[in-house]
Symmetry: C2
Subunit: 299 residues, 2 copies
């Protein structure tokens, strides 16, 4: 770490003051220390965001990119109905990126840390003559309910989603609000399984069903299609919705709907079935298999 | 996540079986859950490793690269005298990297997880038409001593290091053994401050001194120069030694030396001083300022 880097780390420390009781060791040491406020368990997730794939430095501001990199991980905390604890961020900076740009990126990260009470407690910066890459790792703790997994959907559960789907790349993917508060209420109401929608409903519902050893049938005319989506196809297959996909018994969902006070709506779009296939009833009442429409990072 | 990716995740799950009691939720969900075996505190670090900067896919095997990415973070756990708990790894894969290569990378990661009892509990894979980038985030827990920080060196402390310094890029940087066991003994013996040497002694000793509000004087003829180093200059300024730099009172170091049973040697190379400057006494007895010789990722 050079003199310039030292000054930047000092800047980060000053901008993101940490509670000494929650974080006995913060930014600037080999590791940061976080106290676990409750229980004896910690959860962790990580996401890598790349220029040209998850954001575009030619079009998007560094503040937006910083915010998104945090929000994508916060959405994972929401997906399990857990409480964000703290984050670390490692960045690969293009050569000549410079301190001013790094401060802009940091500003976007900090906006998310403050909004969702999930401080930045450490990180790593390195450089190359390649585009910007940002990796966030985030820890969370268990709330009033157990973490809600993907693999525990039950036959007869309603398949439910928050918000509307599709067309996120027109803008929402940079500014979305992770469904942290909503997820705690959903978990308390008795969700059997949950995840966040990052690869599109067709792909992610197949995950829940595969991991739970179940199937599902959803109805095309029930799917809340975003006004930015290119119709049903977009709502089923577009990535980065960052809404919640959850399953729960019919009666519990009825109670949840009555007590629901959030602006974001919740919608039941189908049911979990015994037969291990995910199907969709189209608007013409034809039932077809719903295959994952997501992107393949290995092909 | 596509069908190919699903199969790979299943492969990772099978290859790195997790203890259910330590990790109630493992690979394959939105987050992984780790139990904190002791206390109510967790530490976290992260490192980003880049093709062409920290490794070279043209020269180094993917197994070596995977091992190094883990070992760099394990070295941070050692730097604070903490016990590795678990790691998550996010990767940016060059297009057409393919499953076979990812398995090789994973094999190297897994070798480190097994050797140092620090399981891989989650991750993220994404792709672009750019070189390989790997980010590891690692958690650790507090051992029998408090985490040893950088900022707590005391006047009169000996400045000590493990092993020999310099020339790591000739090979050691890929195969080094993080000083996890050594660091626990050093902390127990009463080290006041510690860090791992990643940017070279000249840079890293300046960190300890700046953060502790102290200075230091070291002696050139005491520095254990690696046979791979280009003399004193290499030992002072080469990066990626991944040895420990620690400070402790003279008497405690004498006791430590007597009880030392590791193959890796420990050497006192100087003392912490009141004057806030880091100096070196050269072989000709001239005393000069020792400025950080590390690399600047922002310039």
């Amino acid at each position: 770490m050079s003199g310039g880097e030292v000054k930047l780390v000092q800047y980060f420390m000053a901008k993101g003051k940490l509670s000494r009781s929650r974080f006995p060791i913060g930014i600037g040491d080999d590791m940061a220390e976080a106290r676990i406020p409750k229980g004896n368990s910690v959860l962790i997730t990580t996401d890598m965001l790349l220029d040209g794939t998850h954001f575009d430095t030619k079009k998007h501001s560094l503040e937006q990119i910083g915010y998104k990199s945090m929000a994508a991980n916060l959405s994972d905390c929401a997906a399990m109905a857990t409480i964000p604890l703290a984050a670390v961020v490692s960045v690969a900076l293009p050569r000549n990126f410079g301190a001013a740009n790094l401060k802009k990126l940091h500003k976007g990260i900090l906006a998310a840390t403050k909004k969702y009470n999930c401080p930045l407690i450490g990180g790593d910066m390195t450089s190359w003559n390649k585009p910007l890459a940002i990796s966030v790792a985030m820890m969370s703790t268990v709330g009033k309910t157990k973490p809600v997994k993907r693999s525990t959907a039950k036959i007869g559960d309603l398949v439910c989603i928050t918000g509307t789907l599709g067309g996120s790349l027109k803008g929402k993917h940079l500014t979305f609000e992770p469904r942290l508060k909503e997820s705690l209420v959903i978990a308390k109401a008795g969700a059997n399984s949950m995840m966040d929608l990052s690869d599109g409903l067709s792909t992610d519902l197949n995950h829940i069903c595969r991991l739970s050893g179940k199937g599902a049938i959803i109805e095309a005319d029930k799917i809340p299609i975003s006004k930015n989506a290119d119709g049903l196809n977009g709502a089923l297959n577009d990535g980065e919705d960052f809404e919640l996909l959850f399953t729960m018994p019919v009666k519990k969902f009825e109670i949840l709907k009555k007590q629901w006070r959030f602006k974001t709506k919740i919608t039941a779009v189908g049911k979990i079935t015994k037969e291990k296939i995910v199907k969709i009833k189209m608007n013409d009442r034809k039932i077809i298999n719903l295959k994952p429409g997501g992107y393949d990072h290995l092909s």
